[in-house]
Point group: C2
Chain length 254, copies 2
Amino acid sequence: MKYLIMWLLLLPLLATAQQSAPDYVCPPCGSCDSITYHQPGICPHCGMQLISKTNAQQTPPPTICFLLYDGVEVLDFAGPMEVFSYAGFKVFTVAKTKAPVTSQRILKINPDYSIQDAPPADYFAVFGGDDEVAGKDPEIIKWIKQRDASTKGYFSVCTGAFILANAGLLDHLTVTTFHKSIKHLQNMLPNATVLDNVRYVDNGRIITTAGISAGIDGALHLVARMYGQEAALKIAKQMEYDKYVPEQGLVIKH
Amino acid sequence: MKYLIMWLLLLPLLATAQQSAPDYVCPPCGSCDSITYHQPGICPHCGMQLISKTNAQQTPPPTICFLLYDGVEVLDFAGPMEVFSYAGFKVFTVAKTKAPVTSQRILKINPDYSIQDAPPADYFAVFGGDDEVAGKDPEIIKWIKQRDASTKGYFSVCTGAFILANAGLLDHLTVTTFHKSIKHLQNMLPNATVLDNVRYVDNGRIITTAGISAGIDGALHLVARMYGQEAALKIAKQMEYDKYVPEQGLVIKH
């Protein structure tokens, strides 16, 4: 009887505790950002550490703008899109206009924004392919320069580096690009050092990666820099990209 | 004078020879299929062996149908799309309807066809993600079965294997899927052997791959089977995916 009374007295307290227990969410990713968990731990979907819902709401996710154009190489942007989505970035796509763009002469994509209405983003990402299209378009280059003050960091894959070069962003840096375009970029940037045989080069504000599939490694590196190597390795595991070797990249400056 | 007369006599013959010299093209790929070369050799863009234009016209490229749906994982299909495009496949996309589908909750794609008007293809490819959408849709499963007689081979990445399983295609086979879904697929297919720790399994008509990035390895394997390991390795080099290790896959039957 004594225990029953104690239990009855405790009930309101227990109910209050239950009401105020924090909820947990996975750092938003493509698969599990809408699920709420009632205990801390590991997301059963992607293996990321759950964080309290309140913290998640207070800290907006990093944003990254993907510049797409007709002829953009499909794996160049899809690899990093996969990584950044699992890392909780808010990824959006932009093209010169809102008309669909075709990637790899196959995939027809509706960009989220045109350069007329794209919002600012923490990171700005460019990719290779028929990059003369974007890299030599004065309107696109002008637009990239206009966004520079609000851009925290740049990320290029493959010959996407030529777009950054045309925007005057790579002078005096150590960078990389597609293996067949190393000499071309070096000729274009006599004041820069263009490296071969490196998966990515991190200059702090600007990360350039080698060709096509190397974008995956560069994106995992940026995640590792922001959230720790463990977070990057978890995403690599989720993607079954255990072929990621952090040491294949070069860090000049964080 | 004698030589001048001989030269004048030979001129028409030389002109004829020049006219009939064969032209060469790269096995059509996303970057270089529209360029004609006047000598055999290696394509300077993608490193593939040039073939005579006449042969290229006489042998139509293999076709592959990519089934996309809302929630399809972006790297699941983009990796193989990259590989197959370099290997000269004609790749097209199909969704249940022609309405845009969203991949990874980010990328808005206009499919080339709906299941109402999609042409037949030599190969049929399915991918993971929110695969319950496609795998449990009776109309899609019925459509896959209807195409079966005209389909030479199947290719699944990640949990795309569940779509093939629902179409009754994996019974009694050795297969693989996303690492977190091995048990689930094994329970669904008591007569099949579902393997972990293998990048791809080739049963001849049906190739299944492990999760997400493993689709790249499976696609390279199919290219190697069709055109030789050298062709696959050249594409891997082009993509800077020298992380491709053929032995990480399992061939049950070619």
